[in-house]
Amino acid sequence: MASSLKPDSKGVGSSKLPSSSSPASASGMSSEPAESASGSGNDKKKKKSSTKTAKSEGSEGSFDFFDGMVGSDGAENGLVYLNAKWDPDDLSDGDMMSPPSPACVRRIKNDILAIYSDPPPGLCVMPDPHNITKIHGLLTGPFDTPYEGGFFYFLIRFPHDYPISPPRVRLMTTGNGTVRFNPNLYKSGKVCLSILGTWAGPSWSPAQTLSTVLISIQSLMNEKPYHNEPGYKHERTPGDSKNYNDIIMHETIRVAVCDMIDGATRMHMPDTLRAVMESSFPDYYKYYVQVCESHLHLDGQPMNDPFGDSRPTFNFRQLMKWLKTIKARLSDNKTDYSDSDEERTPGQGASNKGCRDCRQDDNLSLEGGAHGKNISGASAEGHSSNTSDGSEGPGGGNSNTS
């Protein structure tokens, strides 16, 4: 049994939860770091006048991109302005091709161990067995958001000069490039976040870590993602935000739950992360069904995306069938990974914090100098300073705005 990703904010099944001691509920998670580290809705609006401070390699001259960005499909193209390289699979440049320095590798290991030693709720990482600069990450949608119970798989790659340059991040959970889950999460997989250089606002700082990056991404998945879009602080049409949430809930169950579990192989997702999804699924099953049942009246209606994205038609009835099929399959063949993943210890996960199951890569042991206290310091700093007042967080901060 893999340890579950389910965040501990409702006190259900806490023995399986990653961080039972953490008071940060999913909703707390989603608001606090946003203030300091990510370009959340308000943040972005505020920055509108200060776009010139945003790092934009090789894109001098054109800062009126915001006009082109309001609206959805156009937005994806409009963002070329921030020419930051974002795609972890784009190996066309030296940043990715040169081998990482020992200092860089050490920092990456430190980042990973910080997450292992103090796992933030709903967050799981797994280094690629063949390449230390490549990390597989799984975020579960936070409680009380339309993303609740969804499995969002990210691919992260560190450039050779990390942490001087930010990591590159791609969301793999996009229904094969068809679903935009958030104004900041494009169907191309691009993650629009100022600290990644893909959005206006506080830019990257080498005090950021893998953990703060993932927490910032998690904070994009908030209660009312509609308002993440610049210029949509207030609803354009009454009911837009609720309507957008209905769409995201449907697509979360369709694409971030059912298609993720059925398509894990297609996406080359590491077995350990797949096991985490499969062991979390039964815990969420009741919730999924409730969502479907309470939205059945929408079936047959087209999803009117407030940003003009093309979307399918609501079909919660079909989702219920799909969920049922998956549930039956999972309980039938309690998937046995022992052949592909011999170091996993069945039955051990339940009482473990976080992602201990992922912790099989002993390459991760730090040579010499770094100690536990060092590691937990890295992580604790990322959180506590964010939560205290948001003004002194690593790279958080307020001073680059005007």
Partner: protein
């Protein structure tokens, strides 16, 4: 450069003991160096944040226009030692 006494003072104020850039402990050297001590000095900014000199220099050199402190984002100004 400031020496180890400075470190103790700073620890007392900021209650932290590792470099915000490389995350290595200040009682060791930065990951590019082999031996702790004078070869890998610590440096302070006027904002009172402290880093391995090698780490902060790498960061400042990578910045084309402004050079914010990695921790507080204020413009980095060397504190006269």
């Amino acid at each position: 450069m400031e020496g180890w006494t400075g470190v103790a003072t700073w620890k007392w104020i900021a209650n932290d003991d590792n470099c915000g850039i490389c995350r290595m402990a200040f009682d060791g050297c930065c990951p590019d160096c082999k031996l702790p001590g004078d070869d890998c000095p610590l440096v302070w900014g006027q904002c009172s944040h402290v880093f391995h000199m090698h780490c902060i220099v790498k960061w400042l050199q990578s910045q084309s226009t402004n050079s914010p402190c990695p921790m507080c984002r204020q413009e980095w100004k060397w504190k006269a030692g």
